[in-house]
């Protein structure tokens, strides 16, 4: 086999000389060629380097005839290899064990023909077996067989001392005058190159071999420009061998775990699908279809992520460390809610007792008796009871999970106090449900409650549907209830025919809210917090009553199914933006509507289908900067009155003046009395 150094290399003369020098040296040290194969026994280190570079496995067999280890570095190589492979001859195992370095394998031109240029074939191959004796047959070095004729290398010429061409080569010792000077100088030069330093095993020779092999294999466009980086890469590769197949990569461990969990998703999903069809359980909305439509609108996750979230999800809320996927689950009447997802942690059903919040906090210290420091007459505002399950803000049950494949966690019901507080603060979600919310005013709950409160607000504000999709129930009894016509329920309109997309975009009146608005109180239906005051009166008859509880006005919100056009504007900003998804093909596009108040809330509608989704950070939009609530004014500790006011002591003059005045008054009074007596006496005398 002829070595064919690729002729098209454009390297500078210096480098080419080096290469050629190396080639020549390899020829002298070269191994016996094996008869049958395509690839040669090259240098041991070259072989090793090729192995580590993930050489293509097109070689059928390799045979090594190793030299008895004349040079130290070669010996080192052998020992290393001894450890790793059982048989030195079995180089295939060596190459097989080393997973190919990523880019290298990819960059190999397809269909490598090792004969061609699969490896950098440095040499020439009829060389005799290397022998430690420097006596070499003259046939070992055959410059004629190489394509380029090289002149004698003046550097290594024993007669030539000091070269300016290649400063890497130092002066040589010429101990053995017998062998031909050319071979000698070749050997010397190679010996120098093969020297390994104290610090590392890699000699310059081997490194250069690796480097050039890599360059020749990869054929980058401008090798000189990237020479340094390639240099560094090759060094790194040498020292950071890829882990073998027996051990798993520790870095990738979490990835694999995640993938396994998600695999479970796929498998079980298939099994559950059949069951669902039989039982007619809660229909999982067709996520893929929704995702497709949302993609038309330019919203949504990429398709395989969506597929993994092929569960009853409707919202995704971004967090700092992890995101939340929120699934909205509706109770079926009279039944416990079913968790149709195959979450690994199935949370218990709705049968659990509801937490009562009946503590009457206003009654704390009213029972104690006298000789107390002045009692606090402050009563905390009465606790507004939270809404029952399945009504109002608690109409749906929400489950969250961080990533599809992990279990779903149920979010607790929301209380009005939490909603009211959530309106006042603005915090990022961290992705862990147990994080406490540190804020002012202090939020009653952890991140789970805050999340739930935000979900409630977002749903109340942004769940919309085309006009006519839902209609009110048939009962007429609502009119007579207090508070006017408040309708709590709606149902799908079977006769809904869909509104043309163009109209949906043009006018906001074609969309309606189908969730109840949350009142400032924090609930959807208003509750008079003073209704309990009767009980309190009974208990607290004998106690002082400070201020009367203020009269609370009934709060009324817009009724259900209000069109969007009624939504209030925020500072000249329309609260919704409607668009056609694709202006180029209006007949097939969908109507997309985007909320400006809750950035990230989208809805699409086309024909008879519509869907809502929320993907965002979970915060309301406000043009002005967020101003946290100011702490309240400092309370008065005591009543200000004359007894507690500090008075200035009267000065001496004032006291004397007062005394004088009093004496005058006394004197005047006595005189009057005397006069009266005199008058009376006079009268009496008369």
């Amino acid at each position: 086999m002829e070595g064919q150094p690729p002729p098209e290399e454009e390297e500078e003369s210096e480098e080419s000389q080096q290469r050629q020098a190396r080639r020549a040296r390899r020829a002298s040290l070269g191994q016996t060629p094996s008869a049958s194969e395509t690839v040669e026994a090259g240098d041991v280190s070259a072989r090793a380097s090729q192995a580590s570079l993930g050489a293509p496995l097109s070689q059928t067999s390799l045979r090594w005839s190793l030299p008895p280890g004349s040079l130290s570095s070669l010996g080192l190589r052998i020992e290393d290899l001894d450890e790793e492979s059982t048989s030195l001859m079995d180089t295939l195992s060596l190459t097989g064990r080393v997973p190919s370095h990523g880019s290298m394998a990819e960059n190999y031109p397809g269909g490598l023909d090792a004969a061609q240029y699969g490896f950098f074939q440095p040499m020439d191959f009829h060389t005799a077996m290397f022998q430690p004796e420097p006596v070499l047959s003259s046939g070992s070095f055959q410059p004629d067989e190489e394509e380029e004729a090289h002149g004698p290398y003046a550097l290594d010429d024993p007669q030539f001392r000091g070269s300016h061409l290649d400063p890497g080569f130092g002066p040589f010792d010429y101990e053995l005058p017998e062998p031909e000077p050319r071979e000698l100088m070749i050997q010397n030069a190679k010996a120098y190159l093969l020297k390994t330093s104290v610090k590392c095993d890699l000699s310059l020779y081997e490194h250069l071999v690796n480097l050039l092999t890599k360059i020749l294999n990869e054929r980058p466009e401008d090798p000189l420009a990237i020479l340094e980086s390639m240099n560094r890469t090759v060094q790194e590769e040498w020292f950071h061998k890829k882990l073998d197949t027996l051990r798993d990569d520790p870095e990738m461990q979490p990835t694999y775990e995640m993938a396994e969990k998600q695999k479970v998703l796929f498998l079980r999903g298939a099994g559950e699908g059949e069951q669902e069809m039989e039982e007619e359980s809660i229909p999982v909305p067709n996520i893929i279809e929704s995702a497709f439509y949302f993609e038309q609108a330019g919203v949504g996750l990429n398709s395989d992520e969506t597929f993994r979230i092929f569960l009853a999800l409707k919202q995704l809320i971004l967090g700092l460390e992890r995101n939340y996927l929120v699934a909205e689950v509706e109770f079926r009447e009279g039944e416990e809610e079913e968790v149709e997802e195959e979450g690994e942690e199935l949370v218990e059903g709705a049968g659990e007792a509801m937490e009562g919040r009946d503590e009457e906090e206003g009654e704390e210290d009213e029972e104690k008796e006298v000789d107390e420091p002045p009692k606090s007459t402050w009563k905390p505002p009465p606790v507004i009871p939270r809404e029952e399950s399945r009504t109002g803000a608690n109409k749906y049950l929400y489950f969250v999970c961080n990533e599809p494949g992990r279990g779903w966690t149920r979010l607790p019901h929301v209380t009005p106090a939490q909603i009211v507080n959530a309106r006042k603060i603005k915090k990022f979600f961290t992705g862990r449900l147990e994080t406490p919310i540190v804020s002012y005013p202090p939020f009653p709950g952890t991140e789970a409650n805050y999340l739930r409160a935000q979900i409630a607000r977002i749903s109340a504000g942004t769940q919309i549907s085309p006009l006519g999709y839902y209609q009110f129930g048939e009962e007429e009894g609502d009119e007579e209830e207090e508070g006017g016509a408040r309708r709590d329920s709606y149902e799908e309109n079977p006769d809904f025919e869909g509104i043309p997309v163009v109209e949906l975009v043009d006018s906001l009146a074609n969309w309606v809210h189908h969730t109840q608005h949350i009142l400032p109180q924090g609930r959807c239906t208003w509750v008079n917090p003073n209704q309990k005051s009767e009980e309190e009166e009974e208990l607290g008859e004998e106690e002082e009553k400070a201020d009367e509880p203020d009269e609370v006005e009934q709060e009324i919100g817009p009724p259900l199914l209000t069109p969007l056009s009624e939504d209030a504007e925020i500072l000249q900003l329309t609260p919704w933006t409607a668009r056609l998804s694709c202006s180029l093909c209006p007949q097939y596009s969908v109507a997309v509507i985007r909320s400006n108040l809750w950035p990230g809330a989208y809805a699409y509608a086309t024909g008879r289908k519509f869907e809502n989704i929320y993907i965002g950070w979970g915060h309301k939009y406000s043009q002005d900067n967020f101003n946290p609530l100011l702490p309240p004014a400092v309370q008065m500790e005591y009543v200000i009155g004359p007894e507690t006011m500090e008075m200035v002591d009267p000065t001496v003059e004032e006291e004397q003046a007062l005394k004088a005045a009093q004496e005058q008054a006394l004197a005047a009074a006595e005189e009057e009395e005397e006069e009266d007596e005199d008058e009376e006496d006079e009268d009496a005398d008369d």
Binding site: E251, E305, E403, S581
Partner: protein, 286 residues
């Protein structure tokens, strides 16, 4: 911008799609018709303006219409970038470069973008004019065009939150910055650290590092500021998605900027899809 460095250098259309897929975790993406028109129109832009690379920067949502922004780069990666905008992903118009006064002037404008580049915001300012000895305070109505606001917002975003993984660019001794073709991606451990990402601007804080820290740096790779010292702390959210196969950084200062990188591969890029408003409430929200 989505790299996409393959986008135009190799006329490879697939990398844009892949990048969009990877960056879409934030929920905003592009609809298929937009993507298709982007690919064709960006090629034409590259030809017309003779850019070395054209990258899709992102999308700014306005009330009436959205702006699609692209940027063209010359030879020097860290050099000047020309921004172009389009309303329909087909016709692109060049934007003027940002100047300091423009940035200052438009910083008073608040609120959403309208979507009409010729829209003018009116801003009332008190100006004092002295004529002779008297000083008048006049209310002057200043008109600020939305185009300049667009320019300054893009500039601010680029300066503050455009990032690159460490090693993706390297600096040659002659000055120009080149793409590192042997960049194989960050390792998983590195990709979770903020210090492996750099701001894609001229460094500001680099000189302030102590000598001890500088000794560990490699001058050809570490020539930009890293994200570690960003104020306020915690203004970046790092997440691993798809079970560690993708690392996504999202900026909390400019919500909507998403940077993605697939560890151990060359894929990285960033895209901004948002309203174009800075999140000034950030310190309250952390």
């Amino acid at each position: 911008m989505l790299t996409g460095w393959l986008l135009v250098a190799a006329m490879d259309s697939e990398s844009l799609l892949l990048s969009l897929e990877l960056a879409s975790g934030t929920g905003q993406g592009l609809s298929p018709d937009r993507r298709a028109s982007l690919l064709t129109s960006l090629l034409l832009v590259k030809r017309d303006y003779r850019y070395n690379r054209v990258l899709f920067w992102g999308r700014i949502l306005g009330l009436v219409a959205d702006y699609y922004i692209a940027q063209g780069l010359g030879e020097d990666q860290l050099g000047e970038r020309k921004s172009l905008y389009s309303l329909n992903c087909m016709e692109w118009s060049l934007l003027p470069p940002a100047t300091e006064e423009m940035v200052i002037q438009t910083s008073v404008v608040k609120g959403r973008f309208i979507g009409d580049p010729s829209h003018e915001y009116e801003h009332i300012e008190m100006q004092r004019t002295t004529e002779g000895e008297k000083t008048y305070e006049d209310e002057v109505m200043i008109q600020i065009k939305e185009e300049s606001r667009l320019v300054s917002v893009i500039d601010q975003i680029d300066k503050s939150v455009a990032i690159m993984p460490r090693g993706a660019l390297f600096k040659t001794p002659f000055g120009p910055v080149h793409v590192n073709r042997t960049f194989e991606g960050l390792t998983l451990a590195d990709s979770k650290k903020l210090s492996s990402y750099f701001h894609f601007v001229e460094p500001v804080e680099l000189k302030n590092k102590s000598l001890l820290e500088k000794a560990d740096l490699d001058p050809s790779l570490d020539f930009m500021d890293s994200l570690e010292n960003d104020i306020p702390k915690g203004s970046w959210s790092i997440q691993m998605e798809r079970g560690n196969a993708l690392v996504v950084l999202r900026s909390l200062l400019w919500p909507g900027l998403t940077f993605y990188h697939a560890p151990r591969t060359k894929n990285h890029g960033y895209i901004y899809v948002g309203t174009g408003e800075k999140n000034i409430d950030l310190p309250f929200m952390l």
